[in-house]
Subunit: 353 residues, 2 copies
DNA sequence: CTGTTAGCGCTTTCAA
DNA sequence: TTGAAAGCGCTAACAG
């Protein structure tokens, strides 16, 4: 690849100057001024030869590669991984950097291998990303240089970028409260494991805190909460059925993520209930599916693209300290409306329509 | 990053040998044999110092970087991008290579920039990926070295990796035929632009060819085909409503992708029709949503992970010639059943349940 | 069998 | 104002 590229020596020769002179002109070094004419000649020569510096050679000297390692546990599983990467890519491009990516698949051997591979290539820094917001411990090898955790924290307070899940919880809930829901709001997606083990999830507990805080602010009653084994559509479906079986059907539910909400939609439709007329729904993530549902699902979006971008900014500006929390904002679609009417606290719900 | 790494000189010194000797041992060069004891000493020294070669330095000499550029038009939009990358990543890891990624966003300026950045870093080859299977022209700059097109072809027959969309069309259709559907199969998602402009899509025409061929094989009638402006759920929804409005409701539909199928499901549910009892559905892609629908959607999966892997293999083994077509296989879920009964070719359908 | 000597292409003292 | 020379860490000729 790139066989006969012109070298700096070629440029210098053509310009009738030394490599030093050429180098200085091309790098805009002010250390010592060359004649305007020398500048001209060098630029002209470089232009004519289509000169491009060899980054490997340069970095051997400068110990800078303008390359960032992006190491994540899993890249493919979720669409969100792409957003994280895209944000990082954008920011990197703006600063003339490039991303070397690797995936550990949660396997320590792969991880070790990946990190070595990156370090061997003298990357300027490492972004260590998790696909689910969580706490993790970064391998010792990374301590050698700048690191930013993306969508993760570590026990030892490395600089990190996180989404504001607690704020998101408030936002979701407030949306409901603003429309007049209050004492019959339910929560779908409580999960002991996700809420208690920070290595599994940081989002679950934070979202719940936000939800409860918003409710407490207006003195609303404790919401009905349904536990789910995981956050997949089938669990949301089951949870919603559970809720519908009870006497006082909720006027609104907040689902811990969009997949749960999708399942909830399915159960609602099956019960002949209409969103948002009979039940309002809000959730989190802004999975593509949120826009595809009928009606569109109002959801608090994960700011993954911004997070990815922020991570490289922190890394390169090395003002990276503490945690950077990125706000999450509501994508308003059609799934929220005022409660139909208080209704008698008995029946499970009317038939279709 | 990686400040005080031991260098080859350190290892040599510690082993009491020359850099040359150390280099040879470490690289397992057989050119000239060193004493067994020398081997021992070198390995021991390297081990003790935690020596790792500096890839930049090495590549300055060898002109090999063990780095592959992965340039794509869009990485984030679809989940499939992740699969392509993941496959490539896996294959690269197995061969001790690493991926430098960049995204052009379809912008020629970005593209130029990205390619320069990669070439400046002396990558060993380039994988040029498109997110929708299509034809494209690769920038001249890439002709300098090995290139493999991923999910794309070019007018000048660069080596490429493509999914077998025509086979997929046959597979989808055959699934229906095998269950007894025949003359009342409909197709959702015809699209003039996608079918005629190879720079937009290669998949649409190929899938359609496959569908028709399978039908022709059994002498089935020409299917009812509905055009869609795009392949999004809303279009599938509209298309299905159109079909249901006609007198002879289809017993089965093949949708050009899963998003259309999702829309079709919505229209079916709304009409009080049940999948697969009243209408069977098959489609293409294996979008995550296919597994989330109720019942699960049978769909012919895009083999993106395999494709990504294949691209790397072709590039590195440089036996890269012509096009490599990767088969697509059916994910059998619950959306296909035998037709209920021939039924009178009149009514639009019964009420709910 | 082993070690010395040149570079790869670049930046950076240091002298002229 | 400019240029020669050294050297980043490594490998490949070429002598010993």
């Amino acid at each position: 690849m790139g066989h006969n590229r012109a070298t700096l020596a070629d440029v210098a020769r053509r310009a009738g100057l030394s490599k030093t002179a050429a180098s200085m002109v091309l790098n805009g070094r002010e250390g010592t001024r060359l004649s305007a004419e020398a500048h001209q000649r060098v630029f002209a020569a470089a232009e004519e030869l289509g000169y491009r510096p060899n980054v490997a050679a340069r970095s051997l000297r400068t110990r800078k590669t303008a390359t960032i390692a992006f190491v994540s546990d899993i890249v493919a599983t979720t669409r969100f991984a792409g957003d994280l990467i895209r944000g990082a890519l954008d920011a990197a491009r703006e600063r003339d950097h490039v991303l070397l990516i690797a995936e550990t698949q949660g396997d320590p051997a792969f991880e070790r291998h990946a990190i070595d591979a990156m370090l061997d290539r003298q990357v300027d820094g490492v972004i260590y990303a998790a696909m689910a917001t969580r706490r993790l411990t970064v391998p010792q090898a990374l301590r050698a240089g700048p690191v930013v955790l993306l969508n993760a924290t570590s026990p030892d307070d490395l600089p990190c970028v996180l989404p504001d899940d607690e704020g998101a919880g408030r936002t979701a809930t407030t949306t409901l409260l603003d429309r007049g829901h209050r004492d019959r709001i339910a929560v779908i997606g409580r999960n002991r494991l996700k809420e208690t083990d920070p290595e599994v999830s940081l989002a679950a507990a934070a979202r719940l805190r936000g939800i409860r805080a918003a409710l407490a602010d207006v003195g609303a009653g404790v919401p009905r909460e349904v536990f789910c084994q995981d956050w997949l559509p089938e669990h949301g479906y089951a949870a919603m059925r559970t809720l519908l079986r009870r006497p006082d059907r909720p006027t609104a539910v907040v689902c811990m993520n969009d997949r749960l909400a999708f399942g909830a939609y399915q159960a609602l439709a099956e019960a002949g209930l209409e969103v948002p007329r009979d039940v309002s729904v809000v959730s989190f993530d802004d999975d593509p599916i949120a826009a595809w549902l009928r009606p569109g699902l109002s959801t608090v979006a994960l700011p993954h693209e911004t997070m990815g971008r922020r991570a490289v900014e922190l890394l390169l500006d090395d003002r990276a300290i503490g945690s950077t929390v990125v706000p999450m904002s509501l994508r308003r679609r059609g799934s929220v409306a005022p409660p139909a009417d208080p209704g008698p606290p008995d029946a499970a719900g009317p038939g279709p329509r």
